[in-house]
Structure formats: structure tokens, C-alpha cells
């Protein structure tokens, strides 16, 4: 879902940078207030894992592929704000080193995936897990949140493309939501698998298990 240069109009990509800077700035401030020493290496490992997993495109129907976004994975393990910082770090490296996502569109890409997908996905996780805090509901909440995070990011991306005059909103919205509804299933499966692994190995590290409020 990395938007390349040329898809977005200058007003849209410039707004993307502005909104992203404000939102990520808030996340950075929150992270600074909460981040504990023991989480520092975990932030690095999370970046490495999400980067690697994002290289692994899996095929879905109709000659299309998708890959993990990782926003909910990072948010459930680290908390939503550190997760946004992790996703943003990965996106910056992907853009500057690997030309995955354009530099002009980097603001929008960070906004879509690190902010909308990650924070929005975590909000959904909280909403479900707060209703019934059992281990089973925990995994259901993780799965739903992961699926929604992909849809949310894809929807934001569709809006930006439509606002840019690149493509009509109704058609791009349906197409983006449709294809990412399938990719979201992969996202949910991988996220549940990895979260379950960490819950078994080091439950004390899992932010989503211990924090109550949003």
C-alpha cells in the first residue's frame, strides 16, 4: 500500500506531510513519556521483524499479492504510540533506501499505515478486549483489529487518491476496500500467530495484556 511519487497531487501530499507531522509528533511525545529502558531493544527487533515480514508478499486471488502491515502487531506488543514510531521508522527506511513509496508521498504513507492503521487498529483491539478480557477474546480482538487496520489504511489511501483527482472516489474506494479485505485476512492470521508466540514466551512484554485504558 506504499504510494509512489506521482499518485498524489501536491496539495494532497503536502497536507499528508502536515497532518502526519502533527500526529506523529504527538505519538513521539507520548512515547517519550512512557517508554521504558527494557523496551528499547524490543523497538529495534519490532522494526526488523516488520520490515522483513513486509518483504514477504503472499498471493491472494486474481494475480494480486499482499503483505503484512504490522501496525496492530506492534501496537499490541508495544503500545499504540511506540508502534506508530516503529512503523514510521520502517516506512522512512523503505522509502529512502529501497524506493518503496515515494518521498513526496511519505507523509501520506506514514499517516495511512503508522497512524490510521496502527492507532485505529489498536482502538478496535481495545474496544473488543475491554468488553470481555479473556485469553480467547484477546486473540479475537487481535484478529479483528489486524483485519480492520488494513481496511482503515486502504480507505485513507483511497480518499487521498480521490482527493488528488487521480481516480473517482466511489470506484477506488470499492476496489481498495475489496482487495484489502482479502489481504486483511493474511494480516489477521500472521498477527495472531506472532502475538500468540510472544504471549507464550514473554507475556510480561505484551502491552495489550496489561494496560487497561486506551
Amino acid at each position: 500500500m506504499h504510494i509512489p511519487d506521482g499518485f498524489l497531487s501536491p496539495p494532497v501530499w503536502a497536507s499528508g506531510w502536515a497532518v502526519m507531522t502533527a500526529a506523529l509528533g504527538w505519538c513521539v511525545k507520548k512515547t517519550h513519556a512512557l517508554l521504558e529502558e527494557k523496551m528499547v531493544p524490543l523497538m529495534g527487533v519490532m522494526c526488523a521483524f516488520i520490515f522483513a515480514a513486509q518483504m514477504l508478499n503472499f498471493p491472494i486471488l486474481g494475480g494480486t499479492s499482499g503483505h503484512l502491515l504490522g501496525g496492530v502487531l506492534a501496537a499490541v506488543l508495544l503500545g499504540p504510540c511506540p508502534a506508530a514510531v516503529v512503523l514510521a521508522s520502517v516506512l522512512v527506511v523503505q522509502c529512502l533506501v529501497f524506493q518503496d513509496g515515494g518521498l513526496t508521498a511519505l507523509g501520506a504513507n506514514i499517516f495511512n499505515m503508522a497512524i490510521v492503521g496502527t492507532m485505529g487498529g489498536y482502538f478496535i483491539f481495545r474496544l473488543i478486549y475491554k468488553m470481555k478480557s479473556t485469553p480467547k477474546v484477546f486473540l479475537i480482538a487481535v484478529a479483528c483489529a489486524a483485519w480492520f487496520s488494513v481496511i482503515l489504511a486502504a480507505t485513507a489511501c483511497a480518499f487521498e487518491l480521490a482527493l488528488s483527482g487521480t481516480v473517482a472516489l466511489t470506484s477506488v474506494f470499492a476496489a481498495m476496500a475489496g482487495v484489502h479485505a482479502l489481504i486483511g485476512i493474511g494480516e489477521a492470521l500472521i498477527t495472531v500467530f506472532v502475538v500468540e508466540f510472544v504471549v507464550k514466551a514473554r507475556p510480561d512484554l505484551v502491552y495489550g495484556l496489561k494496560r487497561r485504558g486506551l
Binding site: 504510494i3 531493544p41 529495534g44 527487533v45 522483513a52 518483504m55 508478499n57 523503505q94
Partner: protein, 104 residues
């Protein structure tokens, strides 16, 4: 987090990036598919705003394409680990950083 666990995490990422990424699906991703179907894919095929050193996860100059992707994966894992670790090191709660140096 124990050193052993950190190494395990990085190794897991390296295994994915080096040994699995060369065999990842080469089909267009969701956005590329939509861009193709709606006829705006060529808008993204102009000159990029900056030239990246390792475009499209292929290390330039390496003949074997799978090897070039594996190398790009390894390089990326190291860079993003450093970026994430560095960002976290800068952001860690300053009041605590003095006394909580112990590992694990």
C-alpha cells in the same frame, strides 16, 4: 529483554528477509492492482523524487536476482533495527535511563 531474546528476534527477521523474501509473490500488491485496473499506474512510473541506493529491494550489481533480494533483505533488517533502536534510545524516559540499565 534478555540478550538471547534480542538475538533470536533479529535472527528470525534475518531468516525471513534472507531466505523467504526471494520467494515472495511477485504479483502486484493491492494498491498496484487497483492502479492497474483503474488506469493510473503509469502516473507512478515517472522519475522518483529521490534515487534510492537499493531500488525495489534488489542490490544493484548482483547478477543473481534472488541473491540480490536476499542481500537487500539483510541490509534492510540491519538498517531498520538500528533506526528503531536509535529512535527508542533517544526517546527512552530520561529520568529512568540512569538507573534502569540492567538487562532483562
Amino acid at each position: 529483554m534478555k540478550t538471547r531474546e534480542i538475538i533470536f528476534g533479529i535472527l528470525a527477521a534475518l531468516v525471513l528477509a534472507v531466505f523467504l523474501s526471494p520467494f515472495a509473490s511477485e504479483h502486484p500488491d493491492g494498491l498496484e492492482r487497483v492502479a492497474e485496473d483503474h488506469g493510473f499506474i503509469e502516473r507512478g512510473e515517472g522519475e522518483p523524487a529521490v534515487d534510492a541506493p537499493v531500488p525495489d529491494y534488489v542490490v544493484p550489481g548482483v547478477k543473481n536476482e534472488k541473491m540480490a533480494t536476499a542481500l537487500a533483505g539483510a541490509l534492510g533488517v540491519v538498517i531498520v533495527f538500528a533506526a528503531g533502536y536509535g529512535a527508542a534510545r533517544l526517546l527512552v524516559r530520561s529520568a529512568k535511563s540512569g538507573r534502569a540499565q540492567k538487562r532483562g
